[in-house]
C-alpha cells in the first residue's frame, strides 16, 4: 500500500503571536514556536500503525509551506515516515485551503496513493477543508472526523486491502460507520490514537535523509484543477474586542482568591 500523510507546520496558538502590520497575516513574536499541527500527528501515527499491520506499506509525508516547513517534514521522518516531500512556498503569505488542496492534488494525481490521511483541521486557520477538497479533486471517496479505522484484509492479495471501515464522530458522542472502497482520503479526529515519540533510529536516519523538494511553480500545467486561483480573500484580521461584560480581577494572588470567594458567596454559590 502507498499512503500519503499531509502534515502542516503551524504557529503554536498558545505562544506569543500577533497580527502583522498589513492586517493580513499572523507573525511570530520572540519565543513563538513553529511545530507540526497536532491533528496531523494523529494522521501520521495512524499511518504508522497501518504499516505495522500491512508490511511493505510505504508512507510519504508531505507539507506545503515556506522554507521553515522543512523542519516539520523532517519531524514526520523522525516519527517514521519513509519519504519526506516539501512543497516550497516562496513566501509567508496565507494560502487558502483550496490553493493548498490544488497544489497537493497536482502532486498526488499520478502517484496512485491507496490512502491519504490528514488531520481534521489545522490548529492555525481551523478551516478543515484541505482534506475533503483534495479528495474531491482526486475523485477519491472520503470521510472526515474519523475516530476508528479498520482495513479489511483481502483473501487473494493479503497485503492489499480493498476496502476500509471507518467510524466518524458525530455530536454528543455518537458515531456513524461507513465502508469505503480504496483509494480513500480520511481526515482524523484527535484522540483516535496516541502519537508516538520518535525512535532514536528514525531520528538518526531522518538527519541524513534528503527531502524531496518541489518548487511552487513546478507541475502547474498538469494540475487537475483548471484555475487554482484563490476563491476567498482575507478582508482583515482582528483581535477580539477586550472582554466587555467580563471583569478581570486585580490584586495579589491572595487578594484575587478572596475576591473570587466573595463573588461566589454573593451569588449564593458557596
Amino acid at each position: 500500500m502507498k499512503i500519503l500523510v499531509c502534515v502542516k507546520q503551524v504557529l503554536d496558538p498558545d505562544g506569543p503571536i500577533r497580527i502583522d502590520a498589513a492586517g493580513q497575516g499572523i507573525e511570530a513574536m520572540p519565543g513563538a514556536l513553529f511545530r507540526m499541527n497536532r491533528f496531523d500527528e494523529f494522521a501520521l501515527e495512524e499511518a504508522l500503525r497501518i504499516r505495522e499491520k500491512f508490511p511493505g506499506t510505504r508512507i510519504d509525508a508531505l507539507s506545503a509551506g515556506p522554507e521553515r516547513a522543512a523542519r516539520t517534514v523532517r519531524k514526520a521522518l523522525e516519527m517514521g515516515a519513509d519519504e519526506g516531500i516539501h512543497f516550497v512556498l516562496g513566501d509567508e503569505c496565507y494560502r487558502t485551503p483550496f490553493e493548498i488542496a490544488s497544489l497537493i492534488g497536482t502532486f498526488a494525481s499520478d502517484k496512485h496513493y491507496d490512502l491519504i490521511l490528514t488531520g481534521i483541521m489545522a490548529e492555525d486557520d481551523m478551516q478543515g477543508q484541505v482534506g475533503p477538497m483534495l479528495a474531491e479533486i482526486l475523485g477519491y471517496p472520503w470521510a472526515t472526523s474519523v475516530m476508528a479505522v479498520k482495513l479489511k484484509d483481502n483473501g487473494d492479495r493479503p497485503h492489499f486491502p480493498e476496502t476500509i471501515e471507518v467510524e466518524r464522530e458525530l455530536e454528543g458522542g455518537r458515531r456513524e460507520a461507513f465502508e469505503l472502497t480504496l483509494p480513500v482520503l480520511l481526515t482524523l479526529q484527535s484522540g483516535i490514537n496516541r502519537p508516538r515519540y520518535p525512535a532514536l533510529s528514525h531520528v538518526l536516519r531522518a538527519r541524513s535523509q534528503a527531502l524531496m523538494t518541489i518548487p511552487l511553480s513546478q507541475g502547474q500545467e498538469k494540475a487537475p484543477v483548471a484555475d487554482p486561483a484563490p476563491r476567498e480573500r482575507i478582508v482583515a484580521l482582528a483581535e477580539p474586542a477586550p472582554p466587555k461584560t467580563g471583569m478581570i480581577l486585580s490584586g495579589s494572588p491572595m487578594e484575587k482568591a478572596e475576591k473570587l470567594l466573595l463573588i461566589l458567596q454573593e451569588r449564593a454559590l458557596l
Partner: protein
C-alpha cells in the same frame, strides 16, 4: 448566478435539527440587505412531511430532495444528489450547518461548484458594499474576516453562535427577520411556503453507510450539575486534575468537565467533555481552568449563568465569554483558593 440563498437543513431521527432555524435566520439577515430570496433544501429518504412542516413554520419555499441512499448520511450520495441541482441553480450562498456531517460535505461541494468555501462562520458584516464572513482562528485568539471572490459561496455556519437579533439592529427592513422563540423555533407563520419534491435514484459505489452507533451510556450527568469545574490543556499535568476535583468538591451539586484536549490526552473520559463534540451544558456556575476557549468548547458552555475563567494567558479567548476572569497560574492559585475557602468554612 442569482441572488438566491439556499439553506441545507439537517435532520436527525426524522427531526429537523435546531441549527437549521439558526441558518434560516442567518440567511434572512443576509437577504435583508441586497440579496434575493431564501430557500430551504431538505435532503433525506422520506422527508416530505418534515418539508411540509418546515414550510408551514417558516412560510418559506422548501425543496424536499428524496433518495433511498440519502439517509443515513452518505457523502457520495449527498454529493451526487446536490451537485447537479445546485450547479444549475447557482445560488449566491449555500448555507450548511457546521455540524460533523455539514463539515464532511461542504468543502467537496465547493470544489464541484467552483465555489468559495468559508467554514465555521460565526457572523457576517457589510462594509463598503462588501459582505465578509467572520470566523475564529488560533483557538479564538484572532478573528478573520473573509470575503468570497466567486459567484457561488458555500458557508458552514457554527451552531449556537449566530445571533439574529444582533444582526438586524438598526437596519431598516429588519422586520423581515423571523420571530424566534427562546428555544430557537419560529413563531408559526401565517402563510405557508411551497414544497417542491425532487427524487433521485442513485446507488453509491464507493461509500456504504453502516449505521449510527449510539453514545456509550454515561453515569455522569453534566447536565444536572449546578456547578461545573472544567479542565483544559492549560492545567499542565494529569496530577493537577486533583486540584480541579477539590475545587468542584467545594460545591454540593458539582461535576468535573473538560475540554477536548484533556480527553485526547487520556486524562479524563469522553463523558466529561464539554463542547461541540461533547456535552452542551448550562450550569449556574462554570469554572474554566486552563481552557483556551476555542469556539468548539465555547459552543458547549456559553449558556452557563456565570462563567469564571482562570488562565495564565491574558489573551486566552475564554476571557471573551467570562463574567469574571483571573490571570494566574492555576497550580499555585487554586491551592490559595482552597486554603481561603477552608478558612471560610471554619470561621
Amino acid at each position: 448566478m442569482n441572488d438566491e440563498i439556499l439553506v441545507i437543513a439537517e435532520l436527525f431521527d426524522g427531526r429537523v435539527l435546531p441549527v437549521t432555524y439558526e441558518l434560516i435566520a442567518f440567511a434572512r439577515a443576509i437577504a435583508a440587505g441586497d440579496s434575493g430570496p431564501v430557500r430551504i433544501m431538505l435532503p433525506g429518504m422520506d422527508v416530505q412531511a418534515a418539508a411540509r412542516g418546515l414550510a408551514d413554520e417558516t412560510g418559506m419555499e422548501v425543496v424536499a430532495l428524496e433518495g433511498d441512499a440519502l439517509d443515513p448520511y452518505n457523502a457520495e450520495a449527498w454529493m451526487t444528489a446536490l451537485v447537479p441541482w445546485l450547479a444549475v441553480q447557482k445560488p449566491r450562498y449555500v448555507c450548511i450547518p457546521h455540524t460533523s456531517r455539514g463539515c464532511d460535505f461542504a468543502p467537496g461541494l465547493a470544489i464541484c461548484l467552483s465555489a468559495a468555501c468559508i467554514t465555521a462562520v460565526e457572523s457576517f458584516r457589510r462594509q463598503d458594499g462588501v459582505i465578509s464572513f467572520t470566523r475564529s482562528i488560533f483557538n479564538g485568539k484572532i478573528r478573520m474576516h473573509v470575503a468570497p471572490l466567486t459567484d457561488v459561496t458555500v458557508l458552514s455556519v457554527l451552531p449556537g453562535v449566530f445571533n439574529a437579533a444582533e444582526e438586524s439592529q438598526g437596519r431598516p427592513g429588519s422586520s423581515s427577520l423571523p420571530g424566534i422563540k427562546q428555544d430557537g423555533h419560529f413563531i408559526p407563520h401565517r402563510s405557508t411556503g411551497h414544497v417542491e419534491v425532487l427524487k433521485i435514484q442513485f446507488r453509491p459505489e464507493k461509500i456504504q453507510a453502516l449505521g449510527v452507533i449510539p453514545a456509550a451510556t454515561q453515569d455522569l450527568d453534566l447536565a444536572l450539575a449546578d456547578v461545573i469545574v472544567s479542565a483544559g490543556r492549560g492545567i499542565g499535568a494529569e496530577e493537577n486534575l486533583e486540584l480541579i476535583r477539590r475545587i468542584a468538591g467545594l460545591f454540593p451539586k458539582s461535576a468535573v468537565g473538560c475540554s477536548r484536549a484533556v480527553c485526547d490526552l487520556g486524562w479524563l473520559e469522553h463523558k466529561h467533555q464539554v463542547g461541540l463534540t461533547g456535552k452542551t451544558v448550562a450550569p449556574k456556575l462554570y469554572i474554566a481552568c486552563g481552557i483556551s476557549g476555542a469556539v468548539q468548547h465555547i459552543a458547549g458552555m456559553r449558556g452557563s449563568r456565570f462563567i469564571l475563567a482562570i488562565n495564565k494567558d491574558p489573551r486566552a479567548a475564554i476571557f471573551q465569554v467570562a463574567d469574571a476572569g483571573i490571570v494566574e497560574d492555576l497550580t499555585t492559585f487554586i491551592p490559595l483558593v482552597l486554603e481561603k475557602a477552608g478558612d471560610l468554612k471554619f470561621s
